[in-house]
């Protein structure tokens, strides 16, 4: 299908004979009588990298929350959402708890609101490690420091002792990613993970997501309003508009031969703005610096 790019390290793929990691079909999200999401279908197999692109109000974040079984009250989902075989529509509560963390974890836009300001970074990472992997004592401590160096945070000892107001925005998002990766999930769902960050910091975080997912053979669902961001680290894209999934396909095809007029307009807008920039330099990976 869409395993364009390089395929290295993540082709162990479809071993489980037909059970997709994430299966969304006919998803609808209701707010009373209002339907906010009306027809979304998405399959994610192990090792897939899928982008969901759309503008504000397109329903992309509600789709993400439905996958996590975390729609805020009073919103309700209907249709099929299965993660690792568990029904996230019916079992949003307890059953979902077993899936969230072990099968699917998430990183959100704003680490300032997703992290706990009153708990040290180390303790926030220790919590999922002890809960999902049963680690204690020295083992736990080592795992915490490993998790921090895995996301390329300098001086893990110091960061572990810090509180989030003591570290930069990019470092906070790295901590959020470390927490998400700590339980070794099979899918990482990242909802606008770089939107609140400076562009040079963004480049570093995208890089990190790219390699973290590849090294672990995980699947990635990346939600963004930015086509360039999505196309940088995913292979397949779902385009959403007004609560509907209007088109889905390999990144290359979506960019070069979109089937929907809306997608075409989205691509044209992005290209039109980009046309004002000089052609990118080839070679050299940008943004290893992360203040």
């Amino acid at each position: 299908m869409s395993r364009a790019r390089d395929g290295a390290g993540r082709v162990q793929g479809r071993v489980q004979g037909g059970v997709p990691l994430v299966e969304v079909s006919g998803l609808r999200v209701h707010d009373g009588d209002r339907e906010l999401v009306s027809a979304v279908d998405l399959r994610v197999e192990p090792g897939d990298r899928v982008g969901i692109i759309g503008e504000s109000g397109s329903g992309k974040s509600l789709t993400a929350l439905s996958m996590l079984g975390l729609l805020p009250h009073p919103l309700r989902a209907s249709g099929t959402v299965r993660v690792g075989g568990t029904d996230m529509v019916a079992g949003a509560g307890r059953a979902g708890d077993r899936v969230r963390g072990s099968t699917i974890t998430a990183v959100f836009q704003e680490p300032l609101t997703s992290l706990d300001p009153l708990m040290s970074v180390g303790r926030q990472i220790a919590w999922p490690l002890s809960r999902h992997r049963g680690l204690r004592g020295r083992e736990l401590r080592t795992a915490v420091l490993d998790a921090l160096s895995d996301v390329r945070l300098p001086d893990p000892e110091r960061v572990a002792r810090s509180y989030i107001h003591e570290i930069s925005g990019g470092q906070r998002q790295r901590v959020a990613i470390a927490i998400a990766l700590a339980c070794r999930p099979r899918v990482l769902l990242a909802d606008e993970p770089t939107t609140a960050l400076d562009v040079t910091v963004q480049a570093g975080i995208l890089d990190l997501l790219d390699t973290a997912v590849r090294d672990r053979g995980m699947a990635l669902v990346l939600i963004s309003h930015d086509l360039a961001v999505v196309s940088r680290i995913t292979d397949r894209v779902l385009v959403m508009r007004n609560g509907r999934g209007i088109e889905q396909g390999p990144v290359e095809r979506i960019l070069t031969a979109p089937a929907e007029a809306y997608t075409e307009q989205l691509v044209a807008s992005a290209r039109a703005l980009e046309a004002h920039l000089p052609a990118p330099r080839t070679g050299g990976t940008p943004g290893e610096g992360d203040a």
Partner: protein
């Protein structure tokens, strides 16, 4: 001030910062250090940089909302005087602003017409009667691509892009010479963003307006501004013609900023 010494400007500056430093009260260090930037009549200047670079503070100094700790702001070659009421009003009529978030910059309890007319009233422009103001508001709304009857509705009836058009109409109300826009499209979706960029470019050209655009997004600055000043840690690390700076950045930070922009394959 390495490469900041740039090309000499041809036209005399309309609005300029000269050796400007600024420190917020009780802050440990200056957020701006010895900054020189200028925009000529009908010209456009982009102030780019990342968070904490000082670009919004510089915009606020150019708007006369703060007074520099060192250096001075010059308007039409004269040091800015905010203590004199007449001079202050004249300056406010001439230098207007648009902010990032049209959801918070428009009063939700005021009709669009009242919001747009507000500067006409508070700055004492030529429109004296309600009738004159109504006609002016209608013309302003049409100039930003909205129907004149939008005046009778409330901001909640409009989308983000439309609200930003309303904010632009309000800024244009006193017929300013300079428009300072602080991240005017950052809160907007991509397809709307490009419409607002086009609108700003057209309005600036039609009205001979000088534009100072603050943005973290080099792409938007590249689309709108002839000149660019790159700020990093409160200093202008590089400035000059946008084409030249983007094609051949002299400062390593500028280079890094350009390389970090995610591109479509």
């Amino acid at each position: 001030m390495t490469s900041a010494a740039s090309e000499p400007s041809t036209a005399p500056a309309l609005l300029a910062a000269e050796g400007v430093s600024y420190r917020y009260r009780r802050a440990a260090r200056d957020v701006l250090v010895d900054v020189d930037v200028a925009v000529g009549p009908g010209a456009s200047l982009g102030l780019v940089g990342e968070s904490g670079a000082g670009k919004s503070t510089l915009a606020q100094l150019l708007l006369g909302l703060h007074v520099p700790t060192a250096g001075r702001i010059l308007f039409r070659g004269e040091p800015l005087r905010l203590d004199d009421r007449a001079a202050r009003l004249a300056f406010r009529r001439s230098v207007q602003t648009v902010f990032q978030d049209p959801y918070s910059s428009l009063d939700p309890r005021m009709t669009v017409g009242r919001s747009v007319a507000e500067p006409l009233v508070s700055l004492g422009t030529a429109e004296r009667t309600a009738e004159e103001r109504r006609a002016r508001v209608g013309a302003l709304l049409e100039s930003v691509g909205l129907p004149a009857n939008a005046a009778s509705r409330y901001p909640s009836a409009f989308s983000g892009g439309q609200r930003q058009r309303i904010a632009i109409a309000r800024a244009l109300a006193p017929d300013p010479a300079v428009l300072i826009a602080d991240e005017p499209v950052s809160a907007l979706d991509m397809s709307v963003r490009i419409q607002i960029v086009d609108l700003l470019r057209d309005l600036a050209a039609q009205r001979g307006l000088s534009l100072v655009l603050v943005s973290h997004d080099l792409t938007v600055v590249a689309a709108l501004c002839e000149n660019i000043a790159v700020l990093h840690d409160g200093r202008v690390v590089e400035q000059g013609a946008t084409d030249r700076v983007l094609q051949a950045p002299a400062d390593p930070y500028t280079r890094r900023l350009i390389d970090a922009i995610p591109r479509l394959p």
